[in-house]
Symmetry: C2
Subunit: 191 residues, 2 copies
């Protein structure tokens, strides 16, 4: 990425590590754990695959580090409560294909079904996504509301994936955004 056509990489462990991590995040956000190879990531980062093992121990270690480094909950829940639903709805409908905002969520969804990544995904998605959301919503029905809200967000992302990018008219997109925001807000408000 950073040094595409140079000779040997400049000796800078921290920068190299960061470079690998960023390449891994981008790859894992677009392809599943199984589909992404160490050689792919190493290539993106302009590094030898063996270096990944040295820095992160294994592919699973790198995956865990990549997911760790997202801090999804905070970025997603930033902002005031009243506009949460509209912000999310807008992001879902009009957000770019792989927005930085939802990168953690993307990685989780992409690799959810891979047996090897499953353990990491379960742990991290609870710690970084489900639990913060539950706390943020709060109240007696926080857990239930969080499941439903998360389901709607994740499901819409899945739905986009399946149909290959929404596939709706402009008017329908607007309608979707509005309805999504309302349903989401109702869920959060415990209606």
């Amino acid at each position: 990425m950073a040094f595409p056509v140079c000779g040997p990489r400049p000796r800078n462990a921290a920068a190299t590590r960061a470079s690998i991590l960023e390449a891994a995040q981008n790859r894992f956000a677009r392809e599943s754990y199984d589909d992404v190879g160490m050689r792919d990531i190493a290539g993106d980062a302009g590094v030898d695959p063996a270096l990944i093992v040295r820095y992160f121990g294994s592919k699973e270690g790198l995956f865990r580090a990549a997911l760790d480094h997202c801090h999804e909950g905070s970025t997603l829940l930033d902002g005031d409560r009243e506009t949460f639903a509209t912000r999310i709805a807008h992001e879902i409908v009009y957000g770019t294909k792989s927005p930085k905002k939802m990168q953690g969520l993307q990685i989780i969804l992409r690799s959810m079904s891979s047996a090897r990544a499953m353990e990491v995904v379960q742990q991290q998605s609870c710690e970084q996504f489900m639990n913060p959301l539950t706390t943020w919503i709060g109240g007696d029905h926080g857990a239930v509301s969080a499941r439903m809200a998360a389901a709607l967000m994740m499901g819409m992302t899945v739905s986009k994936e399946i149909t290959g990018g929404l596939d709706l008219s402009e008017a329908e997109c607007r309608s979707l955004e509005q309805r999504l925001a309302r349903v989401l807000q109702d869920i959060i408000d415990g209606a």
Copy 2:
């Protein structure tokens, strides 16, 4: 499956083919396309892996056939419109880990992120799931409503997967079932 500890398999092409197909459906509903090996399916069906290639051409061919053979839309949309949401909600909250009813949906979700299976998944999920649902809901906002309803159903399934089976108290499960039914019904009614 059918003949676990016999010698050579009885010569019956149709039965053997069906046996392979069933084994494939069960496997693909529980594990992702990449995680399931031809040897696994062949083992379940009590058959040599080479036979799968003979009958289905390739792993992808078998996957397509397995997904083809589900007829998800019809089984899911059977029943009257008024109770649709409650039926689905109940199925989601209290349904078994891998219900026959939602097997097609399970297969789609499991392999959604595999690049190799993606093309098949996209095509089949539209034909067998999204389009029937859109038609069934009908009206001007059918497409939008279908996306949202599908998102909620798929998202809840994903959510269950991620947290490792709901992980809610009995009271919370009841609450979830009720709220899910209401939200789903509202979506379908275009509210």
